[in-house]
Amino acid sequence: MTRLSTKISSLTLVNPLVLASGILGNDGLLLARAAKAGFGAVTTKSMTLEPREGYDTPIIAFVESGLLNAVGLSNPGYRALPDILKEAREGGAPVIVSIAASTPGEFHIIASYAEEHGADAVELNLSCPHVKGHGLQIGQDPGYTYEIVKTVSSSVDIPVFIKVGITDSLMETVSRSLDAGADAIVAINTLKAMAIDVYAKKPILSNKYGGLSGPAIHPVATRVVYEIYREYSPPIIGVGGVMTWIDAVEFILAGASAVGIGTAVAFKGLSTAGEILQGIEKYLDSEGFSSIEDIIGYVHRR
């Protein structure tokens, strides 16, 4: 382990930055490129059983505090995974396959297929806020979540991550997921939101509703990472509004073992990974820490 490396369950990452699901994640070469640009792990777009076109444009809207998206889970369908994984793995970083589905059976099929074709981990998306029947509606039901996680974790050997969003039952969902064998928690997904253009006098997104990401959600995500760590201390991938190394360090101090990055890529490109890593290294130096591992959950210690 070097000073920037970190572990999430059985996965070792050379650094704690993870390309979040949905960002450039439909193409293996792009994932490989992200890995080469410095991401310690990369996540595919959430894959569904059937290919999905996604929504009409506009699928994206910029607001003062971040970004709204309603991509509509556009993806080539899980049968494209072999190609994607083959190319993605050439980037040299672990590849996490994100899965969006509605039933334990569907999750099972895609997870097993992903494992078979070389995925290093699967991430169950229980929290997409703007696609009906997927995601957030499941995450609101801890019992159903348990069933899904149990099914998947008992059928694959690679680590199973659970991606959660903001719901009343968040902590229970986390707890039941861990009971059911989840290896790590990914927190958080976007918040359901809307942007209206006052001159167009219409919601910008063709889907009207979208998921809010970026700086807006960072303090909410920090709170969630802190709470999950305080209660259960599982491996956590903190996601939400990481734009600078400071945001990344905040997550790690709160309890995250790794840090997901999405929106920053829209604003600054893939090179943002390198800048954030540099900042983290400087911080470790200036504060006298010898490695990332020294600061995971540090705020809970005193």
Binding site: L29, P58, I59, V71, D197, A200, K202, G262, G269
Partner: protein
């Protein structure tokens, strides 16, 4: 490259003039103050609320006036073609890379169909800089011609190439280029992909630098959704392009000459 915050919100503009060029080909001249200035080859996203937003490479942009040259193709471009002077449109951008027009060199400008849009814009900029250039436009038939006249008025050498010979040189635009490339240092191209592929080959053969503007389905425009991937290269049209240096394309694994 960091995208400026000003490029992220929609700016409303009003249509000041509608120019009908030929069948299914119109230009909108739009008054739009707050849109950051576009480099030829960069694109903007145009949104007509109620329809999709689509990428377009301006055929002119200066002093709060932008011109978009648009071919009718599907529902959104059909709607745009039905619009009138005074109606509002919403633009965000500019995004992506533009043509490199910084070098004092002899430029050969090659546009095919509505691909002539960023090419004539490049012509305007080169003309202003006093750099030498020639404008070539390839179309099916003379009624689809767009900007050879405008190029001529700028004092540039210009040539219309028609497949049916109804005007100018008869044949494919790439044939004309091949015959006339000698003496030029840089070729700028925009148009159908087979045309661009051939252009790249010709430039390779003649040892001439080549910059081409590529087209893919652009959804977000800012390099996040992955929709505009150039298959097999790991390159994004919206962020790494749309204008690529041919050499970079080939190095990344782009294959020319497969489909014409």
């Amino acid at each position: 490259m960091t995208i400026g915050m000003t490029s992220l919100r929609y700016v409303r503009g009003f249509i000041d003039e509608v120019v009908t060029h030929g069948p299914g080909l119109k230009s909108l001249v739009i008054n739009i103050d707050k849109l950051p200035v576009t480099v030829p080859g960069q694109f903007i996203m145009l949104w007509v609320p109620g329809y999709e937003e689509i990428p377009l490479s301006p055929s002119y942009h200066a002093n709060g006036v932008i011109r978009l040259t648009i071919r009718e193709r599907g529902p959104t471009t059909r709607k745009i073609h039905s619009m009138d002077v005074g109606e509002p449109v919403f633009l965000r951008g500019p995004y992506g890379t533009g043509f490199d027009l910084s070098r004092r060199a002899r430029y050969l400008l090659v546009g095919g169909g509505y691909g002539a849009a960023p090419i004539i814009f490049a012509g305007h900029v080169l003309h202003k800089k006093g750099f030498e250039s020639m404008y070539i436009e390839g179309v099916k038939s003379r009624e689809y011609g767009l900007y050879t006249e405008e190029a001529g008025k700028l004092g540039m050498e210009s040539m219309l190439v028609t497949e049916d010979g109804s005007s100018g040189y008869k044949g494919l635009v790439t044939e004309y280029v091949e015959k006339n490339i000698d003496g030029y240092d840089i070729v700028l191209g925009c148009g159908p992909e087979p045309m661009l592929n051939r252009l790249i080959e010709i430039c390779l053969e003649h040892g001439v630098e080549c910059q081409v503007s590529m087209e893919r389905y652009i959804k977000c425009g800012v390099g996040i959704c992955g929709s505009c991937i150039l298959e097999g290269t790991g390159l994004l049209v919206c962020r790494d392009g749309p204008v690529f240096n041919a050499r970079d394309l080939l190095e990344a694994g782009y294959e020319v000459g497969v489909d014409d």
